[in-house]
């Protein structure tokens, strides 16, 4: 990959002085991230294989070889998969409606997206603990509607976890899809109809493929956020659903097992980065077609 891929105005053979100026402008940010991001990550990787007598993969063997820790990894992945799937089902049609909205309706809908996005994750998770309590609003409503006879237990169940997680990460699905849909030419559907396509067929064959980049961006974002979520599982399900994040935090803050924690951190990092890398590739393939 070369820098010619960037859609930028290329200065024709920048003189040496200006080139140095550009380097000087970028250097502080670059150095900060090298010292406080790249280097610590490399050290973490080294720490995850540190043993009393030289490098060892023992902690990785423990993580990937014991049923309990495989279950922990699966808990994280399962939370991310369910969150991503549900957010896509809600977010995809919602993004289309948002893209069609105009004026005050659009402003109102965007505010409904941005306000929760800007609101603290802890505040939102805390609100769900209030909403889902056995004498909370959700149970009271269901009781009043006669849908249930006795309050159902929701807080500290997987239902609570998924509802809260979808609630917190949904805007990250809707926004990238909305950005793509808003740029679609509304005449595409008409053109497809003129060429003899039924509306459903035109939608599936013309519109859906064009929204793939937005969908891929949303899926990657929501999956990588949900797989590493910490506050949401801590407040909404607790000890009963150990995830990679809660396991890492415990290894450092309570158990003092930094080597194990580092290995778990590397596994989480690999899952999150692989998701993003894979989806970027998929989006490129989709775009190249």
């Amino acid at each position: 990959m070369t820098d010619t891929a960037l859609p930028l105005v290329k200065a024709p053979a920048a003189p040496g002085r200006e080139r140095w100026l550009a380097v000087a402008l970028a250097a502080p940010a670059l150095l900060i991230l090298l010292a406080l991001f790249a280097l610590p990550l490399a050290k973490l990787l080294a720490a995850s294989v540190a043993g009393p007598d030289g490098p060892t993969l023992a902690e990785y063997a423990k993580l990937l070889g014991t049923p309990y820790y495989l279950g922990v990894i699966w808990n994280s992945v399962r939370l991310a998969l369910l969150t991503t799937g549900i957010a896509l089902v809600i977010g995809y049609p919602a993004a289309f409606a948002l893209a069609r909205a105009r004026g005050a309706v659009r402003s109102a809908l965007l505010a409904c997206l941005f306000l929760p996005l800007a609101a603290s994750v802890i505040v939102k998770a805390f609100a769900w603990t209030i909403l889902l309590r056995s004498d909370g609003l959700v149970n009271e409503t269901l009781l009043a509607l006669g849908l249930i006879d006795a309050p159902i237990r929701m807080i500290f169940t997987e239902t609570a976890l998924i509802v809260g997680s979808v609630n917190i990460f949904l805007p990250f699905m809707i926004l990238p899809i909305y950005t793509v849909v808003a740029q679609l030419d509304p005449r595409l559907m008409e053109a497809a109809a003129t060429l003899g396509a039924a509306p459903a067929e035109a939608f599936v064959r013309v519109v859906v493929p064009l929204t793939v980049p937005g969908v891929v961006a949303g899926v990657a974002l929501v999956f990588s956020l949900a797989v590493s979520a910490y506050v949401v599982p801590t407040l909404l399900i607790g000890e009963r659903y150990p995830t990679l994040s809660t396991t890492i935090a415990k290894a450092y803050l309570l158990a003092r097992q930094p080597t194990f924690g580092a290995a778990a951190g590397v596994v989480l990092l690999v899952i999150a980065v692989a998701t993003v890398a894979l989806s970027t590739r998929l989006a490129r393939l989709g775009g190249a077609r």
């Binding site: 990959m1 820098d3 891929a5 960037l6 930028l8 105005v9 290329k10 200065a11 200006e18 080139r19 550009a22 402008l25 970028a26 940010a29 670059l30 900060i32 991230l33 406080l36 991001f37 790249a38 610590p40 990550l41 050290k43 973490l44 977010g91 049609p93 919602a94 409606a97 948002l98 069609r100 965007l110 505010a111 409904c112 997206l113 306000l115 929760p116 800007a118 609101a119 603290s120 994750v121 802890i122 505040v123 805390f126 609100a127 209030i130 909403l131 609630n167 949904l170 805007p171 926004l175 909305y178 509306p199 990588s224 590493s228 910490y230 506050v231 450092y252 930094p258 924690g261 951190g265």
Partner: protein
């Protein structure tokens, strides 16, 4: 599915999503006026007593002050460093500009918790144990990618020859920057600053590993309150934070427009 039905379905989902997204915020606000300590909805009588008790929560003021300091300072630093780097990248005179841009944005992909433990080990190995400085440095890594992403996107649409044009028309170099570049980039700058500030102010997974007994940020204190003794005081505090966020968003909407932030923000 026929077309009107499909449109109806899309609108149902959008309105449902809007309600669903707002639900926790409305519940928090309602619970903060609860007349009893058990989160009753204020039917019949609202009470403001929980608001009066926010300031008495153990360790509240130091935590708020710490979070504001760290968020403001790290955002200011990130805006300065990130914008300079973005200018260098967008001007196209930097060797390997695309790779550098990707690197500057890459911490966004990183689980916060992993950054937290990586920095914890790194600082420990160096014998660096000042919690305040450690938090500031860590939050710089949190905020810088937001600024880099938004400013690179904003600057890639900026025509740098306009600066030259202004100089040809008699502006001094600083004058040209001030009159041409600053107004054109102000929306991106504001969006970047807003998201960076919020990301720092709300950060839990990185901060938790870098605090000590006396240096705790507000999110850490809040999670502690929730786990120890949740009462409507927390709802009142959350409502105040929400209120401040609403004011920030309304101000940004007036200055920039939310639909433009949807493109360049999160």
């Amino acid at each position: 599915m026929t077309r009107p039905l499909a449109i109806l379905f899309a609108w149902t989902m959008a309105l449902g999503a809007a309600l669903f997204l707002l639900a926790p915020l409305m519940v928090i606000a309602a619970a903060s006026f609860s007349p009893t300590p058990v989160f009753d909805l204020p039917v019949g009588g609202a009470s403001l007593r929980w608001y009066a008790r926010i300031g008495q929560m153990d360790g509240f003021w130091p935590a708020l002050s710490l979070s504001l300091q760290i968020a403001a300072l790290s955002t200011a630093l990130a805006l300065a460093l990130g914008t300079l780097a973005a200018i260098a990248i967008a001007q196209g005179r930097l060797p390997g500009a695309e790779a550098i841009g990707t690197f500057l944005v890459s911490p966004l992909m990183m689980p916060g918790l992993v950054l937290g433990i990586a920095l914890l080990q790194y600082f420990r190995a160096m014998g660096f144990s000042a919690a305040w400085s450690a938090l500031l440095l860590a939050h710089l890594v949190v905020t810088l990618p937001y600024v880099a992403r938004t400013m690179i996107a904003g600057l890639s649409r900026f025509d740098f020859t306009l600066v030259e044009a202004a100089r040809t028309l008699g502006c001094t170099y600083p004058g040209a920057i001030l009159k041409v570049m600053v107004p054109a980039l102000a929306p991106s700058f504001l969006t970047a600053g807003l998201f960076a500030f919020l990301a720092s102010f709300d950060n839990y997974p990185v901060s938790i590993f870098l605090t000590d007994v006396r240096t705790k940020t507000l999110p850490i204190k809040m999670l502690q309150y929730i786990e120890e003794a949740p009462d409507p005081t927390l709802a009142a505090l959350s409502t105040l934070i929400l209120g401040a966020t609403v004011i920030l968003l309304v101000a940004s909407d007036r200055l920039v427009g939310l639909h433009r932030m949807a493109g360049t923000g999160q």
